[in-house]
């Protein structure tokens, strides 16, 4: 146990939550409470003195590595560029439209078994799905289809690139 400080640092770093000193003690029965306390103190001091981008803070009853508060403007730039992913509802709705287009909302709902207004609206806003016209039947329902952007996002040359039922079976999906 020659590198207690390194082990504690790695534990704090990898933890999903602020790590309490007692929890560290449980994870490291090889070390005594005072040894752990001392190592933690040294670590906090080390981070304070080394003038990097991180601090080791004592929050919510535990220890956690965080970016320095004054660096927030840069972190915001990083996070705002992060591409959002699609929700399960959106993905399922999109899948039905992709494979069954042109399709009306009622048919999508029959397949999903739930109302799809919200995911459909999201897909239209994201320009993955578009209105292709109306059906000349009572109620004149709107028909939906996928867009060029849909192909781009999923890396498809055209719709015929979508895997077929047989190919899906082949993979055991």
């Amino acid at each position: 146990m020659d590198d207690l400080r390194g082990i504690i640092e790695a534990l704090i770093f990898a933890s999903d939550h602020p790590l309490p000193a007692e929890k560290i003690g449980e994870l490291l029965p090889e070390a005594t409470g005072p040894q752990i306390k001392e190592a933690l103190g040294q670590l906090v001091e080390q981070y304070r003195s080394r003038a990097g981008g991180l601090v080791l803070s004592h929050v919510a009853g535990g220890y956690q590595l965080r970016t320095k508060e004054e660096l927030a403007p840069w972190i915001v730039r990083l996070k705002s560029g992060k591409p959002p992913s699609l929700s399960t509802a959106a993905l399922e709705t999109l899948a039905i439209i992709a494979y069954r287009q042109p399709i009306v909302k009622g048919d999508i709902e029959r397949l999903r078994g739930v109302d799809v207004s919200a995911p459909l609206k999201g897909l239209l806003e994201k320009k993955l799905v578009r209105i292709m016209g109306r059906k000349d039947v009572p109620g004149r329902p709107i028909i939906y289809g996928t867009t060029r952007r849909f192909l781009e996002v999923f890396g498809l040359k055209d719709l015929s690139d979508l895997p077929s039922q047989r190919e899906l079976k082949d993979l055991g999906i």
Partner: protein, 237 residues
């Protein structure tokens, strides 16, 4: 115990064959096919006697081995040219060499430190999410999409599900295309619609797509005079 060979130890017939070659310290380029075939079949028997289901691939390779063996037993022809003839083992040797190479590659990859097992990245604690931009990038994966679709299909009455075969997707593609053209131009003649269809197949798909769209009452076709050009319009402009 002599029956300690378990099927799951081997990653398939090639793996078993490679194991036998190594065990006998045989030169892979000059496999004594009679010996190896015998040992291979013995292993299959042992596996079978343990009531293990043999995958078809194991039996296929057994057949290949027997075939090679019989070919090698044929008397050599007198002409010296036949010396140049392909060794009946050649294809199998190439397959084995390729497999061996990837087996080594696999061992190398298996030794790499793996994330979340040997090394760990920062804990996944919640961070503030600032607002999003307008025309944002979307993180998407084709597999997620397919999986989502399969999820729906499996929860739905099978009888209701139309086969999504190649044709159906091609048809969707064509219908999408036609509707897009009708969006920019109010009404298109049949000739205009078929212009792009260079092959017979495409021609057929375009027709099928038109029929389907009409059936679904999404488009309408008009002919102003008999034998005049047929024009196609959106049913609801």
């Amino acid at each position: 115990m002599s029956y300690e060979i378990k099927l799951e130890v081997f990653q398939g017939p090639l793996d078993l064959l490679l194991y036998l070659i190594k065990k006998n310290e045989i030169d892979i380029y000059d496999i004594p096919i009679a010996l190896i075939t015998r040992q291979y079949l013995e292993h299959l028997d042992k596996l079978r006697s343990l009531n293990l289901d043999l995958a078809g691939e194991y039996l296929l390779l057994a057949a290949t081995l027997i075939h090679i063996k019989s070919k090698m037993l044929l008397p050599a022809e007198e002409e010296p040219e036949t010396e140049e003839e392909d060794d009946p083992r050649q294809e199998l040797v190439e397959q084995l060499l390729a497999y061996q190479t990837y087996k080594e590659a696999y061992l190398k990859i298996a030794q790499l430190p793996v994330l979340d097992k040997d090394v760990f990245k920062r804990g996944n604690f919640p961070q503030e999410e600032p607002g999003r931009k307008e025309e944002e990038k979307i993180e998407a994966n084709l597999f997620d999409l397919i999986e989502a679709f399969q999820r729906i299909l499996s929860s739905w009455d099978q009888a209701e599900i139309m086969e999504i075969d190649r044709e159906k997707i091609n048809l969707a593609e064509k219908m999408n295309e036609i509707l897009s053209s009708l969006e920019v131009k109010d009404g298109l003649s049949l000739e205009e619609l078929l212009e792009g269809a260079k092959t017979r197949r495409r021609l057929v798909y375009t027709f099928l797509a038109l029929l389907e769209l009409m059936k679904q009452r999404i488009i309408k076709a008009y002919q102003n005079v008999s034998f005049g050009p047929i024009r196609v319009y959106l049913s609801v402009a």
